[in-house]
């Protein structure tokens, strides 16, 4: 990113958002680690992990907003990229267990020993090295998105058809990952993690660091998205969203633009998944469930699509509500509430929370400007007299 791209991408809303995330990323871990346990201001460890999860969801929401809010690509399968990033990280964490597993096999994870496998499948090679796993976190979702997008966008699959095939994609992966012989732990997925880079994943310090890293990833992801949408490429994306064939007649290769943002977005979703897994301690095929991807789209709709800040906010607000309601007597009704929320937002707040706020802010600014113009005009009446 060049300096002019950075300055161009930081408007007031973006700056406030970044400052808030940075402050949370520093203060929450510090309060957890430095303040005495039980103190009023101390953030308990379980809360650090919970909020770390929300931050990962916020990154996923940003990724969805980039393609849906700005380019009109409604992916109902983005959970797949999130889960793939999560699995890549999970494979690294499995290899770190080593001889501490139930069967004590230094190479094979427990589930492979259980299945009587004699040697590590080739696609597990390299995942004992963190740098390799980190690369795969970006590469695997990115490659899948690139291949999928190359086929879909080149054949001009758009709108609801594209949404349906993204659902099919995540569902197909769900079924594949459920199978034991696929080599990713089947139904149970990957769990019982011990260390990450030599630090105990359960330790307070590690959790605090993971939370801070998630906030950092959110900041970086947000800056990348802002840089993209505030460049000329961002204008092209909006043009594609609003009038795709017109954009083609202007000489833009629409499929290349879609492929670019779709792949960037999938990589971001992968990073979100990779940070999510060590914080929740498990990754299993249910992360591929089509419902998860749809839920993520609802976060973006609630927060306000095409606003980036709104997407992140929507993810946090909806998930906070989910935690709140599913832990009480209302638990069985959560899905109804989520559905009602989506319907209400669509009917009453089609621009979402942040979009509605922005519209209100712009119109009140306009009124203020108009008021000052008319005030100036009144002054103008008196001025000539003074000149005389």
């Amino acid at each position: 990113m060049t300096p002019h791209m950075l300055t161009r991408s930081l408007d007031r809303g973006a700056t406030i958002f970044l400052l808030v995330v940075a402050a949370l990323g520093v203060l929450i871990p510090l309060s957890n680690l430095l303040l005495p346990a039980g103190s009023f201001l101390q953030v308990q460890t379980y809360l650090v992990a919970l909020w770390g999860k929300y931050v990962c969801y916020a990154i996923l929401a940003l990724a969805i907003d980039l393609i849906w809010g700005y380019c009109g690509i409604l992916s109902l399968g983005h959970g797949a990229f999130f889960a793939l990033g999560g699995y890549a990280m999970g494979m690294y964490l499995m290899r770190q267990i080593g001889t501490r597993g139930v069967y004590g096999n230094p190479i094979l994870p427990d589930f492979m020993v259980f299945l009587n496998w004699q040697k590590l499948p080739w696609y597990w090679y390299g995942f004992d090295m963190f740098w390799f796993a980190a690369l795969m976190v970006l590469f695997v979702p990115g490659l899948l998105a690139f291949c999928f997008g190359w086929l879909a966008f080149r054949s001009r699959v758009t709108g609801v058809y594209l949404s349906i095939i993204t659902q099919a994609m995540t569902y197909a992966l769900l079924l594949a990952f459920f199978r034991n012989d696929f080599g990713f732990g089947g139904n149970n997925g990957l769990t019982d993690f011990k260390d990450i880079l030599g630090f105990n994943v359960q330790a307070d310090g590690t959790r605090a660091a993971l939370f801070a890293l998630s906030c950092l990833a959110l900041i970086i992801g947000f800056l990348i998205c802002r840089a993209i949408v505030s460049s000329k490429l961002g204008k092209v994306l909006i043009a594609v969203r609003d009038a795709e064939s017109r954009t083609r007649f202007l000489g833009y290769r629409v499929e290349s633009y879609k492929l670019f943002v779709f792949t960037v977005s999938a990589c971001m979703a992968g990073v979100a998944g990779a940070l999510y897994v060590p914080q929740v301690g498990i990754i299993n095929p249910s992360e591929f469930a089509p419902g998860n991807s749809i839920e993520a789209v609802i976060w973006v709709a609630v927060g306000g699509r095409g606003t980036l800040v709104g997407a992140a906010l929507g993810a946090v607000v909806v998930n906070y509500a989910k935690t709140f309601f599913t832990s009480g007597v209302l638990a069985p009704y959560w899905l109804f509430m989520l559905g009602a929320l989506f319907i209400l937002v669509t009917l009453l707040l089609p621009k979402g929370i942040v979009g509605t706020f922005n519209a209100w802010w712009a119109s009140s600014n306009e009124k203020r400007a108009a008021a000052s113009v008319s005030a100036a005009a009144e002054d103008g009446v008196t001025e000539p007299k003074m000149a005389e």
Binding site: S231, A239, F249
Partner: protein, 253 residues
């Protein structure tokens, strides 16, 4: 004529024996037409005569079943897609004004400029003085300088039509296809649009599809009348409008 060694024709646009049918309906039937460089041509014809389909063929939206479509004497347009054809230098204004409504007038023109249209080029784009001067000039030509920071969606119908013509100018194509530029315009706006197109024709080859006969008369250029996907008559507006077959077709006898 010995310059023509590699070129099949000296024409800017050359259509010969073009056929298109949709589910058995012959939209274009043995259509042949040539447009010389620097020419402005008005295309008239009743509804369903194939005017818009012809533009779809030239811009790559529709592939003809048979026939030749040559651009600039060398390029076979039937093999190329919309983006490639736009890059070659054919710009199109649609029947229904199609501007990017949620973006400003200025940004609409910026998007239309014929500069680097690659993903990388637009991602790392930074404005240049030459670009903003060109935008200023186009804004002046289409009389929208005052409205440059307004959203295109908030413009009046006539202004949208001009903005779209302005986008064509920014694109600076060799050939402009203009589909019904004065539909829904007031008389004054229609007159101004005719002036604008004549101005544009000084440096560009133009093909205008229009129903409005006063407008076509004001352009004062060669007229081609289409009917049922084929050329019915060609000549000055007076010749064409006095042609018996044309009268028959228009009055539906």
């Amino acid at each position: 004529m010995n310059v023509m060694d590699t070129r099949a024709t000296s024409a800017m646009l050359y259509l010969d024996g073009v056929h298109v049918s949709f589910d058995g309906f012959h939209a274009i039937n043995n259509l042949s037409l040539t447009l010389e460089p620097g020419e402005m041509r008005a295309i008239i014809g009743p509804n369903g005569a194939g005017k818009t389909t012809m533009m779809d063929i030239i811009t790559g939206k529709t592939k003809p079943d048979e026939g030749t479509v040559l651009f600039d004497g060398v390029t076979d347009l039937t093999r190329l897609d919309e983006t490639r054809i736009a890059e070659l230098g054919i710009g199109r204004k649609f029947q229904k004004p199609t501007v990017f409504e949620s973006q400003t007038v200025q940004d609409n023109l910026l998007l239309a400029l014929n500069v680097d249209h690659s993903v990388r080029g637009t991602l790392f784009w930074r404005g240049s003085r030459a670009e903003s001067e060109r935008i200023d000039k186009v804004l002046e030509t289409i009389r929208l300088t005052e409205a440059r920071n307004r959203l295109a969606g908030s413009l009046s119908h006539g202004q949208k039509q001009w903005l779209e013509i302005g986008m064509l100018l920014a694109q600076d194509p060799k050939l402009l296809l203009v589909d019904e530029p004065v539909a829904g315009m007031t008389d004054v706006e229609t007159h101004l649009t005719a002036e604008l197109l004549k101005e544009i024709n000084k440096t560009h080859t133009v093909m205008v599809v229009e129903h409005d006969m006063t407008f076509v008369r004001e352009l004062g250029v060669k007229v081609t009348c289409l009917h049922e996907g084929t050329v019915l008559a060609e000549g000055t507006i007076d010749q064409v409008s006095s042609n018996e077959r044309v009268i028959e077709v228009y009055l539906g006898r």
